[in-house]
């Protein structure tokens, strides 16, 4: 609804956005949630689909997983901020949780840091995805903290690319 883009000839996406290409495709993953303030421990399995959207200015991830606390779905949007030279990350999760923060990319390592809002409480959030050199697999670790000093493991997962990104 409210949008404040300038009426100007179409710009091109920043070349930095291409760094997210490694996440594009359809992935399946398995792993484990750790017991903590967000719920009990237990196995998790799910699917994740990443694609570039809106003239490839943004990356969209769609997540579905079966977790110890039930099924969770999520929508992720990554936007590149040329002023901050990093990605602005927003996750919207079923159950009403949100994650907002920054994503930095170094090679095949994707590191998120930000704020998790869950069940009316705010946590600090860190997540690192390492994509394998052949771009067919990944490992992910996430941690949360109530005070930004003491960090608790939240989940660990391993994923496999089930379907490549469509060729353009």
């Amino acid at each position: 609804m409210a949008r404040t883009s300038v009426q100007a000839p179409a710009p091109q996406p920043d070349p930095e956005v291409k760094k997210l290409q490694a996440l594009v495709g359809h992935w399946t993953f398995k792993g484990e949630y750790k017991a903590g303030p967000l719920g009990p421990s237990g196995k998790v399995a799910g699917e994740y689909t990443g694609r570039m959207i809106l003239e490839s200015f943004f990356f969209e991830g769609r997540l579905t997983e079966k977790a110890p606390f039930g099924e969770m779905r999520g929508l992720e949007v990554e936007a590149y901020d040329p002023a901050k030279k990093s990605f602005v990350s927003n996750w919207y999760l079923s159950g009403g949780s949100t994650i907002s923060g920054m994503l930095t990319v170094s090679g095949n390592t994707f590191s998120w840091e930000g704020k998790l809002m869950a069940a009316g409480k705010e946590y600090q959030y860190k997540q690192t995805i390492m994509v394998t050199p052949d771009l067919r697999g990944f490992t992910v670790k996430a941690e949360i903290s109530a005070d930004g000093q003491t960090w608790t493991p939240w989940f660990e997962e391993k994923g496999t690319k089930a379907k490549s990104a469509p060729k353009k």
Partner: protein
């Protein structure tokens, strides 16, 4: 002692389950956004200013609740003098600060993040944004007709938060209401 421990575990388990069940219900405040749900068409008259040369814009806007009803997602396509722009909007309720947030991702690479307030028949988007390195304030109230099938919008921008300049005015018509549950 062991019985007490077992009882405590059972009680803790019930509490945790209750917490999760409670957490899975959207905040009642989200119902305030339901007036946006549906398929809309609109016409707007943009004024020349920091956002461009101005002109007439037409568009369509489709909004629906997603992820268990916790968020509103809208896809918007509009025709401008410079070409077509598509947007993805996601609105969320922040129960801590007791307000809505609205993120819009646009096909020209722009991202805006505003706060939404809802009062009676008016939904207002407001907040700061930056164009060409200069920061502005933005506000756009959308006033709905009593039957919620049409609305008017009036967007304004300001450099100092005191003097406001009209950015655009629009008329919106809901051509397809939200599906009945």
């Amino acid at each position: 002692m062991q019985r007490i421990s077992v009882l405590l575990l059972v009680l803790l388990g019930c509490f945790a389950t209750a917490m999760q069940a409670q957490a899975l219900k959207p905040d009642p405040a989200l119902k305030k956004l339901s007036v946006l749900v549906g398929h809309w068409t609109y016409e707007e008259e943009w004024k020349a200013g920091p956002l461009g040369p101005g002109g007439r814009i037409t568009g369509v806007y489709d909004a629906h609740m997603i992820l268990g009803g916790f968020f509103l997602q809208a896809e918007q396509t509009e025709k401008r003098a410079m070409g077509e722009i598509r947007n993805l909007e996601v609105d969320a309720y922040d129960p801590v600060n007791k307000h809505f947030t609205s993120d819009t991702y646009m096909s020209d690479g722009t991202k805006s993040s505003f706060t939404i307030t809802v009062s009676a028949n008016t939904i207002t988007w407001a907040g700061p944004f930056t164009v060409a390195g200069k920061q502005y304030q933005f506000r756009e109230p959308m006033v709905f007709a009593p039957d919620s099938m049409s609305a008017t919008t009036k967007a304004e921008i300001s450099v100092d938060g005191k003097t406001w300049t009209l950015a655009w005015e629009g008329k919106w018509t809901k051509v397809k209401p939200a599906p009945k549950k």
